[in-house]
Assembly symmetry: C2
Homo-oligomer: 324 residues x 2
C-alpha cells in the first residue's frame, strides 16, 4: 500500500464525485413527467450521487425541446435541489440555444455544465471546434461558468481532440475545467488524465474507474449511476482502501448486466420493473421501449447483486457489501 492509498477515508469521500446523468421519465403522451423526474433526482442524491448531470445523453436531452430543458432546470432549482449539485448538459447544434441553456445554468449557480460540441456538421476542423466553444463562452459572459466538455464521438460524430482541449484550457483556464470522456476508449481517458493534470477528466463509465482515479480522475459521470449510485459511490469512497478492487469488481458486475443492450431503454425498463411504475419504461422516439419482461429480468438480476431501486426503502449496493 502506497502513502496515498493510506490517506484517511474521509478525505477520499470529499474528493471523488459521482454525477448521475438522470433518466428523464415520460408520460404515455410523451410529455415529461416533472414530478417523477424530481423524485428520481432526489432519490439519487439520497442514495449515493454527489450530483446530477441532468440533460445528458442518458437523459435523452437531445430529444427534449429547449423550452422543456429551461423549464425542467428551473423546476429542479425551485424544488430545492442545490444548484451546486447540478451539472446540466447544455450543448446543442446551435450557438444561440447553447448560450441560452448555459446562461440559465450559470446564473442559477450550477456546479458546471456538460457541453457537447455542435454535432450536425461533420468533419469539423480544430479551429472550427475551438471557435464554437469560444463563441459560447464569450456570449455567456459569466465568470461563474464552469464547462466540462462532453466527448462522445460515437454519438456526436464530432470528436474533441487533445489539441482543442489544450487550446480551450489556455484561452479560458477558469472556465474550461474538465471533460466527460464517453469515448469508451481507456487509452483516450488515460491520455487526457496524463496530458492535462488538474483538468477534471471524468470517465463516462465505471468500467475502469479505479485506474482512472489512480491517475487523478475527480470522479465519474455514468449512465448506470441511475441504477447503482450507491455501488459506484462505494468505489469512489473506497478507492484508496483495502476493498477497492472488490468494490470495483462489484460495480463492474452491475455494469455488465447492461452490456450489449440498448442502454437507455434497458435502464428505463429496469426502473419501471424495480419501482413498479410502468411509465418509466417509455423513452421518446427515435428510441423505443424495451419489453417489460426484460426490465423485470434486469431488475431481478440487479437485486441479486444487491442494488435495489425502491424509492423509499430497500438495501443499497453499499449496504449489501457490508458483510463482505
Amino acid at each position: 500500500m502506497t502513502a496515498s492509498n493510506a490517506a484517511p477515508k474521509s478525505a477520499a469521500i470529499s474528493a471523488k464525485k459521482l454525477f448521475v446523468p438522470a433518466l428523464t421519465p415520460f408520460r404515455p403522451d410523451l410529455s415529461v413527467d416533472g414530478p417523477r423526474f424530481l423524485a428520481h433526482c432526489r432519490w439519487l442524491l439520497d442514495h449515493g450521487a454527489d450530483g446530477l448531470a441532468v440533460f445528458g445523453t442518458t437523459s435523452e436531452a437531445n430529444s427534449l425541446g429547449i423550452d422543456e430543458k429551461l423549464d425542467l432546470l428551473a423546476r429542479l432549482i425551485e424544488a430545492g435541489i442545490p444548484p451546486a449539485r447540478v451539472m446540466p448538459g447544455t450543448g446543442t447544434c446551435a450557438i444561440p440555444d447553447t448560450v441560452r441553456l448555459t446562461q440559465a445554468a450559470a446564473s442559477a449557480g450550477c456546479a458546471g455544465v456538460l457541453m457537447l460540441p455542435p454535432f450536425y456538421y461533420k468533419g469539423i476542423t480544430d479551429d472550427g471546434l475551438f471557435a464554437s466553444f469560444d463563441a459560447v463562452i464569450q456570449r455567456v459572459g459569466d465568470a461563474r461558468l464552469r464547462i466540462y466538455l462532453y466527448h462522445f464521438p460515437q454519438l456526436s460524430q464530432v470528436p474533441i481532440s487533445a489539441a482543442v482541449i489544450g487550446r480551450l484550457i489556455k484561452a479560458h483556464p477558469h472556465t474550461v475545467v474538465g471533460l466527460k470522456d464517453s469515448s469508451g476508449s481507456w487509452e483516450n481517458t488515460r491520455d487526457l488524465l496524463e496530458r492535462f493534470p488538474g483538468f477534471g477528466v471524468f470517465p463516462g463509465s465505471e468500467g475502469r474507474l479505479l485506474e482512472a482515479l489512480r491517475l487523478g480522475a475527480p470522479g465519474c459521470i455514468t449512465a448506470t449511476g441511475n441504477v447503482n449510485a450507491a455501488g459506484i459511490k462505494a468505489v469512489l469512497d473506497g478507492w484508496q482502501g483495502p476493498d477497492a478492487e472488490v468494490l470495483q469488481d462489484s460495480a463492474g458486475k452491475v455494469r455488465a448486466l447492461f452490456s450489449g443492450l440498448p442502454l437507455i431503454p434497458a435502464l428505463k425498463a429496469t426502473m419501471a420493473a424495480a419501482r413498479g411504475e410502468a411509465d418509466w419504461r417509455l423513452p421518446r422516439p427515435p428510441l423505443l421501449p424495451m419489453e417489460a419482461a426484460d426490465g423485470h429480468r434486469l431488475a431481478a438480476a440487479l437485486a441479486r447483486l444487491g442494488a435495489t431501486l425502491g424509492a423509499t426503502q430497500g438495501t443499497t449496493m453499499a449496504d449489501a457489501l457490508e458483510p463482505i
Copy 2:
C-alpha cells in the same frame, strides 16, 4: 424522341421546380442579417428559383436557434414572400422543437417542410424512425401539412430507408409527399423514383438532374442554386427540348467549380466576392470562412461560365446560353 419528350414546353415549365436552400447571411457578430437574407431570397425568386428551401443544410439551419428560425420565417412571410414558394427545414433532434417549427410553417401556408430525422442518437431502428415522424405528424395535426423527408445520411448519420418511406406514405398519404435525396448516391435516387411513382423525390444535386427528371423527379433542391438558379432552372424548363443535354452540361460545369471544396464556406465566399458584400463570407462556427481570395477566384470562374450574381443587374446563366 418519345411521346413524353414531345410534350409542350409550357407544361414542362410548370411541372419541374427548383427549390434553393437559401444561404443565411451573418453579421460580424454572428447575428443573422435579416434584411440581407430577405434580399437574397427575393433575388433567387426573381432569377430562376421556383421556391426557397430555407433552413436547409446549406442555410446552416442547425446552427440557428429555434427562436431565430421562427422569427426569420415570420419575417419572410410578412415581407411578402408567398408562403406557397417556401419549404422550410423543420427537422431537429427533438420532437417538441420539430413540432413547433412545423406548425409555424403549416399554419403560414408554406408549400411544405423539409424534415430531417432526429439525428443525435445513432443506430436508430426503422420502427423508431417511423415513430418519430409519426409523432410529429400527429402533434402538428394540420391537414395542410406537406412533408418532404430529408435524407442526408452523411451529415445526419440517420438514413431514411425505403421501408420507412413506404410505411410513412401508407400511414400518411396526404402528408408525406416527397423526399430530398442528398445521399449523393444516384442508385438511391433512381431506386426511390422507381419504387415510389408519384412520390416527389427531389435530387439534392443537379449532377444527374436530366436522368432524374426522366424518371419522374418533380425538380431539384440544390445548394448551388444559390449561385446558379437560372442555369439549373434552364435544365428544368428545357429537359424535354433539343438542348437538354447542353443545358445539363452547362449546369454541371458550374457545379464542378465547387467540387471538393467545403461547400457552404465556398458558396458564401463566392457571394461575398460577386456581390461586393464582404460579410457574406461569414458562416457560423463550427464552420469557418473561406479566404476572400478564393471567393474572388470562384466568382470569376462563375462569371466566365455566364452565371453572375449581381443583386440588381447582370446576365443570368440562361441569358448567356441564348446564343448557343
